[in-house]
């Protein structure tokens, strides 16, 4: 199985472990991720605040390049990139003349045939069916799934999950053996790009998120966006200062959680790269070996053959 892969800037920088874990997870499930050759920036927040055509052309070029390679599905792990690509695809679909104009700007043929998948949609389409059979170390922790703002909004375009109280990541965590808790800050703003210019704002917003998760006894927060991750993880000192508390629960990507559940080691998943140390308590239940049963199945199949 070949699936297009658009890393965007963060996968190559601050969120290297996200890419590492996605790649490792894909490998376990025999999925080949093909990085789109000569990809460019998605435009992020800056482009659509400055120049409409630029903000359309950048993502359109990425999708056009994928089309040229014959790629039908692109997995976009970064929620912001996913949002930009999906919205541009939607806008160009609605306005054919605009689509022509953009194609002339990027000087590439653009048909809009590629499917844009966020990390959860990617997992649901290619992995979920086979996930439970591959789980060897159930991720038995109280997990707060944090979706952030960009993954589910605007619903009219993305049509992904429920805008308020989304559930898709919770379902995945449960399948990985985890206990996805019910909490109130699933889609609240983490402060996003204010991380650099207004760290105090980020400390307050992200602080409220972490506070609610910890108050509800979460042992880990799971995210699907590098921006959320960096705010909840890297800004932990500021968060703790704002809350006047010492919160030390780790922030994991959903790909890392599933990776751990299917038996990948911490290093492969890049857990060592987090700012807040990942010190998940070992639980007795997790030590139970689950590998014996699948072996039996293999044996009987051989006998029958």
């Amino acid at each position: 199985m070949k699936v297009g892969f658009y890393p965007g800037c963060s996968m190559k920088g601050g969120a290297r472990e996200y890419q590492e874990s996605v790649s490792a997870l894909a490998k376990v499930f025999d999925i080949e991720l093909v990085e789109i050759p000569d990809w460019n920036c998605c435009g992020a927040t800056a482009a659509h605040n400055l120049n409409k055509e630029l903000s359309l052309s950048l993502p359109a070029r990425i999708m056009a390049l994928a089309e040229r390679e014959g790629i039908s599905d692109i997995v976009v792990p970064c929620a912001a990139c996913y949002n930009r690509l999906s919205i541009v695809k939607h806008e160009l679909e609605a306005d054919k003349s605009l689509s022509k104009r953009v194609a002339s700007i990027i000087d590439l043929k653009y048909e809009g045939t590629t499917q844009i998948l966020n990390i959860i949609q990617f997992i649901d389409k290619y992995i979920t069916d086979r996930l439970e059979e591959k789980v060897v170390k159930p991720f038995d922790y109280k997990t707060a799934c944090y979706y952030g703002c960009l993954l589910v909004r605007p619903h009219s375009i993305l049509k992904f999950d429920r805008v308020e109280d989304p559930q898709s990541m919770d379902v995945l965590v449960k399948k990985a053996g985890g206990d996805a808790i019910d909490w109130a800050y699933k889609t609240e703003c983490c402060g996003a790009g204010m991380s650099v210019s207004r760290t105090d704002t980020v400390a307050r917003l992200s602080g409220n998120i972490m506070k609610d998760a910890v108050d509800r006894a979460a042992e880990v927060v799971v995210v699907a966006c590098p921006m959320c991750h960096s705010n909840l993880d890297m800004r932990r000192p500021e968060i703790n200062k704002f809350l006047n508390e010492k919160i030390d629960i780790p922030i994991l990507y959903i790909s890392q959680v599933l990776g751990l559940a299917v038996g990948l080691d911490a290093k492969t998943l890049g857990l060592n790269r987090h700012m807040t140390e990942v010190n998940l308590p070992v639980k007795p239940a997790m030590e139970v070996p689950v590998a014996s049963e699948p072996k039996k199945v293999v044996n009987t199949q051989k006998l029958e053959a």
């Binding site: 429920r162 805008v163 308020e164 109280d165 019910d182 109130a184």
Partner: protein, 666 residues
Amino acid sequence: MSRIGVFVCHCGENISATVNCEKVAKITGELKGVEFSTDYKYMCSDPGQTLLKEAIKEHKLDGVVVAACSPRMHEPTFRKACAEAGLNPFLCEMSNIREHCSWVHPKDDLTTEKAGDLVRVMVEKVKKNKALNSIKVPVTKTALVIGGGIAGIQAALDIANCGHKVIMVEKQPSIGGHMSQLSETFPTLDCSQCILTPRMVEVAQHPNITLHTYSEVEVVDGFIGNFKVKIRKKSKSLDEHLCTGCGLCTTKCPQKKIPNEFERGLGFRPAIYVPFPQAVPNKPVIDRENCTYYIKGKCKVCEIVCPTKAIRFDQEDEILDVEVGAIVLATGFDVLKPDFFPEYGYGKYKDVIDGLQFERLASASGPTQGEIRRPSDGKEPKKIVFVACAGSRDPAKGIEYCSKICCMYTAKHAMLYKHKVHDGTPYVFYMDIRAGGKMYEEFVRRTIVEDGTHYVRGRVSTIYEKNGKLIVRGADTLMGGIPIEIEADMVVLATAGVANKGAEELAQTAHVSYDAYKFFAEAHPKLKPVETNTAGIFLAGACQAPKDIPESVAAASGAAVKVAALFSNDELTRDPLVALVNRQPAPVFSSCVGCFLCQSVCPYQAIEREEIKNRNGEVIKTLARVNEGLCQGCGTCVALCRTKAIDIHGYSNQQVYTEIMALLNE
């Protein structure tokens, strides 16, 4: 050679503002066969009609075209005027140059030209029209009222008091509807039960009303004056004649933990139950899905304890065939389901309830005997938040309309709460307060000023539970949109009123139109508010749109008057625009070859077989024949006929082809 008169109406300025009416009259006056043409400010006015009548007489017209508004509006008016002047009414046609021309196009030559085209089409059509006589059909003077809420009750009583028979069908085991669930009613704080139950009893005892509870309408056939209806009387597992309503069975039933629908899940009921103490009829039914006997095959406690031996476990559903002349739909409304508001935790948190549940809490006959206690732990909530517009006026979620009743009942809830919990603090989040109605605005003011309810103008974004409190997060837009959080003990959502379950199916069964929200559609939003597009079927109450009690009652009385008017004649005259099979001289008899394709497509079973016999009584040809009483004039048979032997008055092949040719060839 025809002598046709053309009358072009200005409709004040509605037509003449964009169409040059004099020009239209002038050019159409020059058409072949047009004897007389004129334009006039208001053709539908008395002088306008007089003008028409006099022209018919003076110019000996044998056809009339009135170019004005939609024929759906005034065709009967002008046909009647023609008849009064001695011209067969079916020789009068209308050109719709208002709705289909002047109102939808700008003022220019093209618009006038189009108006001229539309008139020319009708002139040519009228030339092919035939003088027809109205068909008379008998009227069955019995009405069917579907739904036994306040609207259905009012309609049934009004019709019955006019001396006509009424059959009432109610889905639930008791009549009463939503009104019987309410505690007190705005703006007078009358006790709902107190004003409703006498009406319910009156229905049960009225000699002209036959009541079928626990029943549903399955098939509606026929037409105005002559509907044939199948009613499924669901088995109550009970002989109603023997049952005295003593209620012993309901107290002895071992199955006691079934969520009570009437209490909106806030209480429990047994498997054999009467929905509420004042139910009409006050006789129980067995809920077979939850009855131990039907699940496990043994129990029968009710049968053992019943003093009159009225329990019938093997009773089957009964199908009743009834004939009625008119139908009133009064099936009411429903409120949104919990999964509509994931962000409000409705369905997830026990103390987030909807308005109807609050009614039950506030009701003296409710699960808490009228004390306001929250469902989770039975404590009295000291801080309560009411969320108005929960679902309503929200295009993103698909309910764009205003549910209309919520502003008022939310104010009433806040007031009732304050009357019962004196030290409590009620908050109301609202978008706008829509309190149009007699004494309504004053009522809301009282809630705010006298009872000290905090009205916060803004929407609630999310509700979540923390440390046993419900955190209601919203914005106060009158304070510059600042975010606010209220730690509430209980939250009441004024959930949007939506079409009742099964409304769409019922509309399709009864062949009435419904809107995008599945509410039944009225024939005209202003002038025919209780009629449907299907003659003989009327609307009452909230099945049409969310309505409060006074409005529902008014609509019901309106529908009842329509029914009574229909029943005031022994016969009904119907437009003779029906199909007919051509007849020719022997030995052909008709171009009908007797394939009866028409019979298979006719929705009204109006096609009969007619046998042509020779002198010896032998059948020599079988033809199709149309029963004029049954034919509704849809024309599907005409389109299907291979030999064009069947045709339809008013839309005959000749007329239609003429129209097309006139339209396209100037």
